[in-house]
């Protein structure tokens, strides 16, 4: 009989350290030879590109509003164009000495938007705050009250216009989109057909043509002497356009609600609207938060298209500011980088906010 001796298995080596900076670099940047090679290549490219960008944007840049200094051979970015033109870029053709008015109006509007994003303000009276601030916004911008001079809407421009168009079209498009999405699933054929035709018609044409129609064609159909301000018409155009896209996103969420939820609501005696408001929409909207925010961000940037109907929002104001001045015309790029930064700031905030909202609405799913 063979005596079996107990032979212990050799101890395993200690696991590779993954904590700490050195550990992180080893696992993530030099995990194996392929990762290591990629790290070296990407690192080399960055080392080559970054100093050049930094040199152009900072070291060799001209900061003073002096266009002759910008024309010297070998200088970098000409930020002087921003220093010189920022009032025009931000406020457009609004009269120079009255520009404190759009400034105050914009700050009010931004405060309103920030407040609306905060849980503490999600109360019925938020509607009243909206009404009050919008009234203040229009009073400040349009004037003709409290001794303020009257400034027609075609002089409005720059950031205040961008923010007004974006926030109002988002706020108005959302309820329309919900209604249209519900309408497309309605049991009543007339409502279903109307909503389907609306979505298909609007989605089938570019935003530019909707804006053209709102701006130039719509007045032709109106009786003589009757006119609606172009700003309102354009706002309506953007809103209806955005609502059509948003409606389809929301309908996607509605489709994903299991039939059992509707049956349970029916057996509990809930009416159609109670079912939609209490059961279906909260779940459907929660599911499509990322897509909704995607649309909102797109809509925010789409407002730049109103330039073509002579409303000079941020992008339009920039090209107006630079094209009208031959001295600064060669430095368009820096101007565009400046407004790109403004757009990015807003869009990035919206994107972060969407992540927070997602966390809020997914509470029930956390185990």
């Amino acid at each position: 009989m063979n005596a079996t001796t107990f032979e212990p298995v050799a101890a395993r080596p200690a696991p590779v350290r993954t904590a700490g900076a050195a550990g992180w670099i080893r696992t993530n940047l030099f995990g194996d030879w392929k990762t290591g090679l990629m790290t070296l290549l990407a690192g080399g490219a960055l080392l080559y590109v970054l100093p050049q960008v930094f040199g152009w944007a900072v070291l060799r840049a001209v900061w003073l509003p002096d266009y002759n200094a910008c024309r010297v051979e070998g200088v970098g970015a000409c930020w002087g164009v921003v220093a010189e033109k920022y009032r025009f870029i931000i406020f457009g053709r609004y009269p120079y000495e009255e520009q404190w008015r759009p400034l105050v109006a914009t700050v009010l509007m931004l405060c309103l938007l920030a407040a609306s994003c905060t849980r503490a303000f999600w109360r019925p009276w938020l509607v009243l705050i909206w009404v009050a601030i919008l009234a203040a916004f229009f009073a400040l911008m349009y004037g003709n009250v409290f001794g303020l001079s009257r400034i027609e809407t075609d002089r409005w421009g720059g950031l205040p216009l961008t923010i007004l168009l974006a926030s109002l079209s988002i706020t108005l498009a959302f309820p329309i989109a919900v209604a249209v999405a519900l309408g497309r699933r309605s049991g009543l054929p007339a409502i279903r057909a109307f909503c389907t035709i609306y979505v298909e018609l609007i989605r089938g044409v570019p935003l530019i043509s909707v804006l053209f129609m709102a701006s130039f064609m719509f007045p032709l159909f109106m009786p003589e002497g009757f006119s609606i301000d172009v700003l309102i018409r354009v706002l309506a155009g953007i809103t209806l356009f955005a609502a059509a896209y948003l409606a389809e996103v929301i309908r996607g969420g509605l489709q994903a609600i299991p039939k059992g939820q509707l049956e349970a609501a029916a057996t509990l005696g809930l009416s159609y609207w109670q079912t939609q408001i209490k059961i279906v929409l909260p779940q459907a909207l929660a599911m499509v938060v990322p897509s909704i925010m995607n649309n909102f961000i797109g809509l925010f940037k789409d407002t730049s298209l109103v330039t073509i109907v002579s409303l000079y929002e941020l992008t339009g104001a920039l090209s107006l500011a630079i094209n009208s001045d031959a001295n600064w015309r060669p430095f368009k790029l820096e101007g565009y980088l400046f407004i790109a930064m403004i757009y990015f700031t807003f869009c990035f905030l919206m994107s972060r906010y969407s992540l927070w909202i997602e966390k809020q609405v997914n509470k029930g799913k956390a185990r």
Partner: protein
């Protein structure tokens, strides 16, 4: 005999044009009666149950629930749904609402009870299904058996006269079936009128006054549980019983 609380009178129903899902159903249920409906899958037993609160619409015949005939009249449907609680195989709790909110939803919005009263009623029903300590949780944080008990409590919050159970234990892990059946037995012993589609023959033997066996849209046999299990009348019942009790 007592006036029946549910009466099917030659009820016929089709899915689409050619699938005859209910054929000439005649059935009377007395108040307080406990009925178990069984049969092979596709035999129409769930559909029969779902006709009672109009989740399905029968095309021919008459169906009366507590003196109200179910027709296209929406008011009649609302009336009936207030008196009939239903429990589903998949629980169908609202995942975005807490357990307590699931229970108070209907009493507050349909019954127009003040929040305080609705919550008191909800807690009492949660107590009844022995799950009151979970009131603040969301449904997906509970086990299957707990969710189904919450669903039963939610239906009871309507203070219904009739409870319908559509395969309430079929989606549950075996060790959770008992906790749900215990609640149902208790409910039966308190005199609730119950119709239950189930394959739990132990439950049928313990509480049912009658067992209904369905096949191909027809009621093939209606019998007391003792008779049905020991001495089934029809060949098809025998065949079915041998299949589900045979192992």
């Amino acid at each position: 005999m007592q006036e029946p609380i549910i009466r099917f009178d030659k009820v016929n129903m089709w899915f689409g044009n050619d699938f005859h899902v209910l054929r000439d159903i005649d059935l009377c249920v007395a108040p307080g009666e406990r009925i178990v409906i069984c049969g092979p899958s596709g035999s129409g037993k769930s559909t029969l149950l779902r006709c009672i609160n109009r989740l399905e619409e029968h095309q021919e015949g008459h169906l009366y629930v507590d003196g109200v005939e179910l027709t296209d009249d929406l008011k009649a449907i609302d009336d009936v749904r207030k008196k009939v609680g239903m429990v589903f195989q998949q629980f169908n709790l609202f995942p975005h609402l807490t357990v307590l909110e699931n229970l108070t939803l209907s009493p507050m919005w349909v019954g127009k009870l003040p929040k305080k009263e609705a919550e008191a009623r909800a807690l009492a029903q949660l107590e009844r299904v022995r799950i009151a300590e979970q009131a603040g949780k969301y449904p997906l944080q509970l086990s299957g058996g707990q969710q189904q008990r919450v669903a039963i409590a939610r239906a009871l919050c309507l203070t219904p006269k009739i409870m319908l159970f559509d395969e309430p234990t079929s989606a549950l892990d075996p060790e959770m079936i008992k906790e749900v059946l215990d609640v149902m037995v208790e409910l039966a012993n308190q005199g609730m009128t119950m119709l239950c589609v189930t394959h739990e023959m132990g439950f049928a033997k313990a509480v049912a006054d009658q067992v209904i066996f369905m096949d191909q849209g027809q009621i093939v046999e209606q019998n007391t549980p003792t008779e049905f299990f020991t001495n089934p009348r029809s060949e098809r019942s025998k065949d079915f019983l041998s299949k589900i009790l045979g192992h």
